[in-house]
Amino acid sequence: MKLSLNWIKDYVALPADLDLKKLAYDLTMSTVEVEDVKKLAESFDKILVGVIQEVLPHPNADKLRICKTDIGNGEVKEIVCGGSNLQAGMRVAVACPGAVVRWHGEGEPVVIKNAKLRGVASFGMICASSEIGLADLFPASTESEIIDLSAFDVPAGTPLADALDLNDIILEIDNKSMTNRPDLWGHYGIAREIAALYQLPLKEIPAFDPSGIPAMEIAIQDPQRCNRCIGAEMVNLSVKPSPYQMQCRIWKVGMRPINALVDITNYVMLATGQPTHAYDADQISGNITVRHAGNQEELVLLNDKKLVLTEDDLVIADSEGAVGLAGVMGGAKDSILNTTNRVILEVANFEASGIRRTALRYENRTEASARYEKAIDTDRCDQAVSIAISLFREIYPDLEIKAFTDNYPNQTSRKEIDVPVSWLSHRLGTDFTQEELSGLLGRLGFQVAFSGDLMHVTAPTWRSTGDIAIKDDVMEEIARMYGYENFQGETITTSFSGAINQLDIDLERRIKEYLAFRCGMQEVFTYPWMEDHYIQALSQDTEQMLAISTPPSPTEKYIRSSLLPNLVKAVSENLRYYPEFSIFEGARVFFDKNYHTHPGYDPSESLPEQRKHIGGAFVGDYKKISGLFRESKGVLENMARYVHMESLEFRQVTKPVWADETVWLNIFRGEVQVGEFALLSKKSALAAGIKNSAVMLFEIDEELLQPFTSRTNVFAHLPEYPMIDYDLSMLVDSGITWAQISEVILSKKKPGNFLQSCEFVEEYKGKQIPENKKSVTVRLVIGSSEKTLTSNEIESCAEGVMKILRKKLDAELRSK
């Protein structure tokens, strides 16, 4: 919301030396967030009123003229201008060198310089309204029309800002910071707050005295929805522009002046926060009723929207039907027309939530509905009527008020709250005297009485529509008036109640740090919603997926039940810049099943299954798949050891739908399947736009992992006698697995044998190796805890291993 400081000054006398920065700061700290303080005149720097003395043709251009223009102090300058309405004697806006304008009101601001136009030197420019941001205040009928300021009786050389009443400060308030303060939605409300902050007198607005004016019929069908409705019928009016000062004020705070009748209603709303509406009385037949709309009743609004109403909507109606949508917008047929000379002014108070429902139902939120839906107090109608009628009288001296009625079934009652003073001191950490409390609250219009420890507070009507409801609200008023910065905080002490021990939280951090720091993976974040394309690429079943009802895009409605589609998308996108990388993500996944309640939570709530997963991708050249496989498998195999949890095992039980035919494993903790680890199938990879890269993926259900309560490394005595590494290479059928080989070798590990363990060293297929065979190198560890072995003993141990490998696996061996 924009506010004019000059307008605020109508209601509160601000000190002449008011520091604007301090005002903005104080309002921001105590009342509402001031986003911007703008000196309006700065936009019109170096723009003057000039008087054209002579209009001469341009020697080189038909459409341009040379204007000899008096710019004050006896200076007459030649200015080249293409304006269509140039005339000698006309007052115009002259942008002198250094002024900032926008060509034809568009594009970036431009600084005016002395220039030659088609060979003729020009001093600055004569401006069209759009070029200096005044198009709404001085609408031009054609693009080449310049502003005619002849109506402003000022001498040549007067700064434009002075001539046009633009020496004002505009405060821009963040609307979000005052959604709870309906009393602040107008200049008077902010003036009242400033008066309270600085303890300045606030101008009273006397109520309009209708005595002697005949009544008119205004019926309120449902007093629950309409608390008050005032009607005033006025005659001897006409449609004409409103006085410049009124237009200018309306324009300065962001609305467009239209005509005097409409401008008065807008002015009143901007002044008081109370919306009003003017109807053409000639279009109104019979009496006015505020009633519920009929089901399917039709109404065409001022903005030409044709509505089919429901019974929940409230309308202003005459004997023929609805003439306006209450609290939202007037009807097209019965509002101010070009021919209007009789007006019925409506000033009413409606119940807030009903107005909100209606405005939302038709997606037709207006300045009026925005104010009504915050709950305005009923007394504000009095201010609105008073200001409106004095404006009508000022602009239309011949006006006659033919009828006036105030139908007022529900007056906003002042909220009364008891606040224990001891409770206040306890909460605020500061003691206040009764005088201090009365003073701080009194400035805001609260009445305060004390009885023992109790402070009895009566809120003013303008704070009694929900804003002030409980004693905590009163505490806030005291705290903000005292100044939050003035409270001295003390450190909060800890009471010892045992060390914090959160195994699951710590496990997740250890896993992430393991993957990032030890395994060189990069953590990424992706959205919970997935593109259909990637869901399909990974052949994911959408049957048990949840979807968003208004998704970010039509092809991103499903939210993830697996981390993999979005990880694959991230892989695909990063492959543009990196041939090899590894990434991981930890996030929650969602399933449209297993709806459940949770002990301790509200038993009426039922939530779907949601689980924490951690997933990752290792990306490399497809030709180096075995290296990539071992590297990524190593990350998973060793995770348990480094993050202190129960170990993981790998078995082939059920192939993931997206996995390669051969390279896949299910991950188990004991008998519990906790995840999957596999190569992304060629088909899925191609569908995801991945061509020559191998992508190893894993996904683990973090909630199925079991952290240890402490570290579990096992200490073993250092060997007293040497352990010998003994490498063996063998040729075996290419179908023989490492699992088979190690099982055969380890069958020799038994009491009396010196074999301690065996390790995989490498595997090779290709040149020099017969087809259907592979070369496997293993490392035997041979030794004894009782003596140093002789070379015969070592050889004989290795020989035993070779023998059994030949026998069981038909291996061709050569020792290394």
């Binding site: 105590s30 905590d472 003390e490 909060i492 974040f525 939570y601 709530e605």
Partner: protein, 345 residues
């Protein structure tokens, strides 16, 4: 004889000190002390001396021998100290190789930094599911029935769960605060916990607005907390995380679930509070709402608001990280773009 010995001492010492290598030193040692060495030659002349001179010369010879041996040993030690098998033209200005290592997401880093700071003050870390009912997202937080945030404009409701009573309507959580009520319902007071998590808003995105972003909630509920103490706590946490004194100010703010409510600003660290484009020239950056939990929120958590009170803040993690590094586009956080993420190793 004595002169001979004196000149041998001078020559010998000079040779030893001038020796350029171990091999050279060996040669010198042989030439002085060896079987055909100069000193041995001199000793061979001993029998020719007068008997009375012999003891004195013998003593001198021995002294010389000891001196030479000591000097040679010392010189050898010097060689050992300087010994290297590496050619002298080895280039030490060649750059090192990068250790292979990944990184945590910059938001996770910030989250862990905050976790560490809060845990050091005795806060538990809480986590909670992302899908919630309207009951917890709004009702239990004192949001009026007609609050705009309840509408689909702001909240991602789930298809098939977007109508009905508030306990039946499900959404991706629009904020974390509903989860805090769940914590209080399932734990015994007093409370002291932090609650990091991702939240979701149905918004149009731009450099400053995202549909998924991170909040970090901290809540203390106890019998003796006043809001100014909360400010002290917050200031100490931010100062620890940013490694320097961070000015913090609280100003009035309205949120249905707190009373009184604050907007909490921190001094702009980019310009030090002087005003710059990051802080829109005000020197302060709005980073979190906060306040005292509204009595209705405490009630919905099963607490008596006359007995308990507290202090609550909800830190915008994204904004804090943007502030930390001067990042100007919030959408980078969910981009999974390694060119961005690798900068925070």
């Amino acid at each position: 004889m004595k002169e001979k010995l004196a000149s041998l001492l001078r020559e010998g010492e000079a040779k030893i000190l001038a020796a350029a290598s171990e091999t050279k030193l060996q040669e010198i040692k042989a030439s002085l002390l060896g079987k055909q060495g100069s000193l041995t030659e001199i000793m061979k002349e001993m029998p020719k001396l007068d008997k009375s001179e012999r003891p004195e010369v013998g003593k001198l010879v021995n002294e010389l021998k000891t001196k030479f041996t000591a000097l040679i040993d010392q010189q050898r030690e010097n060689f050992m100290l300087k010994a290297s098998e590496i050619p002298a033209d080895f280039d030490v200005t060649v750059p090192g190789t990068m250790p292979s290592g990944g990184a945590l997401h910059p938001i996770t880093q910030m989250c862990y930094d905050l976790n560490d700071a809060f845990r050091s003050m005795g806060f538990e870390i809480y986590e909670e599911e992302d899908i919630t009912s309207e009951l917890y997202a709004f009702d239990k937080l004192n949001f009026p029935q007609n609050h705009p945030a309840r509408e689909s404009m702001d909240t991602y409701w789930l298809a098939g769960h977007d109508t009905g009573a508030t306990n039946e309507k499900l959404c991706l959580r629009p904020h974390l605060t509903g989860g805090s009520v769940r914590y209080m319902q399932t734990h015994k007071p007093p409370y002291r916990f932090v609650y990091p998590g991702r939240v979701y808003r149905n918004e149009t995105t731009d450099a400053r607005h995202e549909r998924a972003f991170f909040q970090y909630e901290a809540l203390i509920v106890d019998k003796n907390i006043d809001f100014a103490s909360g400010k002290v706590m917050l200031k100490s946490v931010l100062s620890k995380v940013f490694g320097r004194d961070v000015p913090v100010r609280m100003r009035i703010g309205f949120f249905p679930f707190v009373e009184p409510g604050f907007e909490i600003d921190m001094g702009c660290l980019v310009c030090g509070g002087k005003g710059c484009s990051v802080c829109k020239n005000v020197g302060w950056i709005e980073i979190m709402p906060g306040g005292t939990p509204h009595p209705n929120v405490l009630r919905s958590a099963g607490l008596n608001p006359d007995e308990f009170t507290g202090f609550y803040v909800n830190i915008g993690l994204d904004r804090l990280v943007m502030m930390r590094y001067g990042i100007d586009d919030v959408r980078l956080f969910h981009s999974a773009d390694l060119r961005f993420l690798e900068q925070f190793k």
